[in-house]
C-alpha cells in the first residue's frame, strides 16, 4: 500500500487487559513516530524510532507502555494493564528522513481508537 497502515482500527479492552497496536509504515521510511490523541486535542508525542533504534521514548506516559520496531519496519505499541485514561486514538507516522528534515514530512495512518471500559 502507498500509505501508513494501522490495525486494528478500533479496539475495546476491559480495564486490566493488555493490548497491542500495529503500524505498517511506508516502505523505506527511516523514522517512525507514535502519538496519542485525546478527543479535541492535538497529537501528543509518545516515542520515536530511527530504523530499529528507539531513540526517544520520553513521551510514554508510564512503564505500562512499550514500543518496538525490531526489523526497522513494522512497529508495535503495547499497553499493559490498560486503564480508562489510556482511552484515546493512537496515531503512527513515518517519514523518509530524520525528524525535521526538509521535504520529509510526517505521513500518518488513520489511527487506532482504543476504548478501555
Amino acid at each position: 500500500g502507498a500509505g501508513v497502515s494501522q490495525s486494528p482500527r478500533y479496539k475495546v479492552a476491559k480495564r486490566g487487559q493488555d493490548v497491542a497496536l500495529r503500524c505498517d509504515p511506508i516502505s523505506g521510511h527511516v523514522s517512525l513516530f507514535w502519538y496519542q490523541q485525546a478527543l479535541g486535542q492535538g497529537p501528543e508525542f509518545l516515542t520515536y524510532f530511527q530504523n530499529e533504534a528507539q531513540l526517544d521514548k520520553s513521551g510514554l506516559p508510564s512503564d505500562r507502555f512499550f514500543a518496538e520496531r525490531p526489523e526497522g519496519s513494522v512497529s508495535t505499541l503495547k499497553i499493559q494493564r490498560t486503564q480508562q485514561e489510556d482511552s484515546a486514538v493512537y496515531l503512527c507516522a513515518s517519514s523518509l528522513d530524520l525528524p525535521g528534515a526538509l521535504d520529509s514530512p510526517l505521513h500518518f495512518g488513520n489511527g487506532t481508537r482504543l476504548t478501555v471500559t
Binding site: 492535538g42 508525542f45 525528524p99
Partner: protein, 114 residues
C-alpha cells in the same frame, strides 16, 4: 523547543480566502515551519512547508515574514471540504534522536459554511 500559538477556531464561508496565523516567537535558526490538516477520524495530512518568505503549492500558500516569528497559512477559495483542524509545527533537522521536537499544539478548527 519552539512553542506555537494558534487561534482555537475560525469560521468562514465557501469561496472566501482564509488566513490562519501561527506565532512562534522563539523559532530557531534551523527550524522549518510545517502545516498539517486533520479531518475527523483521520491522521493529520501534510499541507505545506517553508523556511522564509513565501511558499505556494496546489492547495495553499505559506507566508513567513523576515523575522520568522510567525507564519500564515492561506487557503484560497475554501469549500465545505476544507472544514478541518489545522496544525502549525516548528522544528529543525534532528540528528541525534529527540523525535519529540515535532510537537503539535491544539490546532485551529476551521469551519466553512455555505
Amino acid at each position: 523547543l519552539a512553542k506555537t500559538t494558534q487561534p482555537i477556531s475560525m469560521d468562514s464561508y465557501e469561496g472566501q480566502e482564509v488566513n490562519i496565523t501561527c506565532s512562534h516567537n522563539n523559532i530557531a535558526t534551523n527550524d522549518y515551519i510545517t502545516w498539517y490538516q486533520q479531518f475527523p477520524s483521520q491522521g493529520p495530512r501534510f499541507i505545506i512547508q517553508g523556511y522564509k518568505t513565501k511558499v505556494t503549492n496546489e492547495v495553499a500558500s505559506l507566508f513567513i515574514p523576515a523575522d520568522r516569528k510567525s507564519s500564515t497559512l492561506s487557503l484560497p477559495r475554501v469549500s465545505l471540504s476544507d472544514t478541518a483542524v489545522y496544525y502549525c509545527l516548528v522544528g529543525g533537522l534532528i540528528l541525534t534522536g529527540g523525535g519529540n521536537k515535532l510537537t503539535f499544539g491544539t490546532g485551529t478548527q476551521l469551519k466553512v459554511e455555505l
